[in-house]
Symmetry: C2
Subunit: 551 residues, 2 copies
């Protein structure tokens, strides 16, 4: 052993917090409470049970909402030498089947709530149907994980096709005795987790994270979000999304408290906020749920929301500010462990008019402290990257690099090589570089509407619409148009009680944008279809628009 | 270039803060102000000037108090590919000569205040006298570094022996134009700085730090001290001591403000505190200066003091607490980049009686978040280390390991090998492991007094004495005794206005310790002789005791 080197691994964070703060509450879930000592012991127990089943490097899949067991698995699976594959809970059976087979998962943990999906996988047959299943019962009201509601759980042990399933508690009980497994790895570049992209275009890709990347990104999150021992972190962001932006490890490093949450509903979220939550992350839809809830009221303890996916609307930011909430906008992708840039606040913005400040805040920002400087480069120049001018206008591709870029796409060296062309990860996102070094996303490449030969950035139109105080959420898509090729169509969510009309909103947008960019068609709706990670499902809107257009 | 790897280097922190917060004040010094843009530009300018003079890996020595130029050199020297050697300003000429020659320094920067030392080195002759000297003028009141007080500075350009010296401003002016140097290194294990130990026993040893170690330790300091963009860090801790515990890099990572300080005097410190300082570090003597100052008053903005060298006295902790100051106790050595353990506060201690809480707080604590778990092992077991029982009583040697252990002793592979025996760095400090995992330093090995065959821990006696509310500071030494071999003698600093007598203090100690441990001799003094790093110079006290004893 070398005296002056340790392989970086976020496992160290739980080792430390369990030893230093054994009695502090680490995890809350309904009426369940786990101290840090219990959190550490449970991770060891699960790891020992797993180590007896899997080979080093094996993938272990987990299909569950934000329950303590998934949090614990973020430590236990790598502790056992495995690679955690946290699955999106909204996936259909055939998608889960694809991922289980692509990742060659050795084991699948599934929350009781999601056994229908697992049944579906079994019915589809093939290798995925043969993956042993461990059932994680809903133990929100039980004292100790895995021991609650045994009768209910027993009923689901026998699944579709008569396949035998194992109970989580039984797996744990079979854990061999013996000394604790070492909280670390030999090689810090060893894989720790595998996250599948949403695969909006084609098959999902497996994105491999390393211990080193997870460690550094966790420290970066802890720094930027300001986690410390008094932190109460509410799990509104799915842990299956980029491993919850590495926050399972970050909050644990700070020995803060994880407040788990099975589903993001206004009542449960507000109950947690009233119970002193200090931080949460999520898509803008989480911001809307909080701001627009009936229970909404001024908070006693300041709350910090870190949001990504789309710029938060000025209305939402203002409304949340009134409640005592600070909203911080970040940008990233699965391939970069979650957030890579953060819209760092500048004190000079205090003096700006509200709309100008909102415009500053809606930008994606600058590389985090553990990241490198993000760049915007000309599209299609091959391995030689050329920065676009930092004029806030010239469109280019956002490229990123450094320790928080994935190891690569799992079992897809060609896609990895393409993505890493020129030594930078190509996001596929188009944006501009502002003179102050802040990047701003202008569009995912595929979301540009070309109307009458003019490029219309749907984000630009969305920002114009959302700047109206009555608008909570918006999505703009392009639909085919005989005359113009395409034209923009808007779907708008109004605030509660608003009677905003399409005419008034049109007038508002016309003041801000060139006429050809103003959608002729505006549909009001109660909510927008979103992915579980908060991205608007524009193809669903396109289908809807086609129907509406045919009327 | 690899898309998914960056060599860890704290240079990145200045690159980022200069780009993201160009207009924020990075450095204050008297009436001088430097924004982060200026800080970054100045580091580049100095680095370019240096790069034209030195070879990669060359050592560059710096002899200065906590002025902006030394802070800038923490970035500029490694940026130029060099290794910074920050020299203790209290060293005598022959000590500086030794270090310049051992490190084979290519260049020596010297503050005008310290030119007498440099003259002394010149007079001693040898290779050290040939090292080119760059004079850094005192520019506390000037607008831009290196341009102030040119007449005064010109007068010192011609030094002893008629050797020509160069002015800092002239060196900078000679910096070649050209693109900025890259803010990083290829190999994160490359040396970044070289720090010489105080050498109380024998010659000073050169302790080599790496970019990786400095980066991780800086993030650890930022985390534990809670640095953010609103931080105002007062430079009471010498930057030449373990590179100011990596805080030049940590505060810069957080884009906080460095408040420089030429000398730690009560008035200047209190002026800074009233100007909103949020953090400072230092030996307990700094705590005493603050608590015992005439200007002392309740602070408007909470202040956090991180202290090391000796446990802070309960009286000082209480007095500082009354002013609005939180004191955090840490422990480390030059060989581990400064602090390695931190006495993490446990909320359960709130309920303890004041003296029990003080006892908890006086312990050295647990490994920091970026460190490993500190161990206390049996002494002299060779490469096979055996932990002593965690009973708070069994004495052993404190050993440490991980990324914040030095690369090694410069040009001394044998000492390095000895220090790293068994894969852990041997501190030479004796301590115990408490049941809660907190280590407590019992004695530097050489400070044990053996009286009548009994070992007396001077730290134990010191803690008993300092628990008296009238005692501000204390040092206990062993002096030769015809009957007992050695006996303990105490030097005590009382609080202002205290009329505490030796008899009363003796009685107090007798209630706490076995009779043979109670010093028969107690000398009251106004202050204790200390190293610049706050360690009591016990050999000076021994000399003093010999004189007193002879009376």
């Amino acid at each position: 052993m070398q005296a002056n080197f340790s392989a970086l691994s976020p496992l160290r964070f739980l080792e430390r917090s369990a030893a230093v703060f054994p009695d502090r509450v680490a995890i809350e879930h309904g009426s369940r409470r786990h101290t840090y000592a219990e959190f550490g012991a449970e991770a060891q127990r699960l790891a020992k049970a797993l180590a007896a089943r899997i080979q080093p490097g094996d993938r272990v899949a987990f299909l569950a909402p934000n329950v303590p067991e998934l949090l614990i698995a973020h430590f236990a699976v790598p502790l056992a030498g495995g690679v955690l594959v946290a699955l999106n809970t909204r996936l259909a059976a055939h998608e889960v089947k694809y991922i289980l087979e692509h990742s060659e998962a050795a084991l699948l943990f599934a929350d009781t709530e999601l056994l229908a999906t697992v049944d579906g996988v079994a019915q589809l047959g093939g290798p995925a149907a043969e993956v042993p299943v461990v059932v994680v019962p809903d133990t929100e009201s039980a004292g100790v994980s895995g021991t609650g509601a045994p009768e209910a759980a027993a009923a689901v042990v026998r699944g579709a096709q008569g396949r035998k399933r194992e109970l989580y508690a039984d797996l744990l009980a079979a854990a061999p005795d013996g000394p604790d497994l070492p909280w670390g790895v030999d090689d810090e570049q060893a894989p720790i987790t595998l996250n599948y992209t949403s695969g909006t275009t084609g098959k999902p890709k497996g994105v491999l994270y390393s211990h080193r990347g997870a460690y550094l990104n966790a420290l970066g999150e802890a720094h930027h979000q300001g986690f410390d021992g008094a932190t109460r972190y509410l799990w509104t962001l799915p842990m299956f999304h980029c491993n919850g932006w590495c926050t399972p490890w970050a909050v644990t490093a700070a020995a803060g408290t994880h407040v788990c949450l099975r589903a993001v509903r206004a009542e449960a979220v507000w109950d947690a906020l009233d119970d002193g939550v200090t931080h949460l992350c999520g898509a803008p839809t989480v911001c809307s749920i909080i701001a627009d809830a009936e229970q909404a009221h001024g908070l006693e303890r300041p709350l910090r929301i870190t949001t990504a996916g789309a710029p938060p609307s000025p209305t939402i930011i203002r409304r949340l500010g009134d409640l005592g909430v600070t909203v911080v906008h970040v940008y990233g992708l699965t391939e970069v462990y979650g957030p890579y840039t953060v819209c760092e606040y500048q004190s000079a913005w205090d003096a700006l008019p509200a709309d100008e400040r909102a415009a500053k805040l809606s930008r994606q920002g600058v590389g985090m402290v553990q990241a490198e400087t993000a760049r915007v480069v000309e599209v299609g120049t091959g391995p030689e990257l050329r920065d676009v001018p930092a004029d806030g206008e010239t469109l280019g591709e956002i490229v990123l690099r450094g320790n928080n870029v994935m190891l690569g796409y799992y079992r897809d060296p060609e896609a990895t090589e393409r993505a890493f062309e020129g030594g930078w990860f190509h996001t596929g996102d188009l944006g501009v570089m502002h003179p102050d070094g802040y990047i701003q996303l202008k569009d995912r490449a595929k979301d540009i509407v070309i109307s009458g030969g003019e490029n219309i950035s749907t984000i630009e139109v969305e920002q114009a619409i959302v700047s109206h105080p009555d608008v909570l959420d918006v999505a703009v898509i392009g639909v085919p148009d005989e005359r113009w090729g395409e034209r923009p169509v808007a779907f708008v969510v109004r605030g509660r009680g608003s009677e905003l009309t399409a005419e008034v909103l049109s007038g508002h947008v016309r003041e801000l944008l060139a006429g050809f960019k103003v959608p002729r068609e505006i549909h009001f709706t109660d909510q927008l279809p979103k992915t579980s990670t908060g991205k608007t499902l524009k193809h669903e809107l396109r289908a809807l628009a086609a129907v509406e257009g045919a009327r």
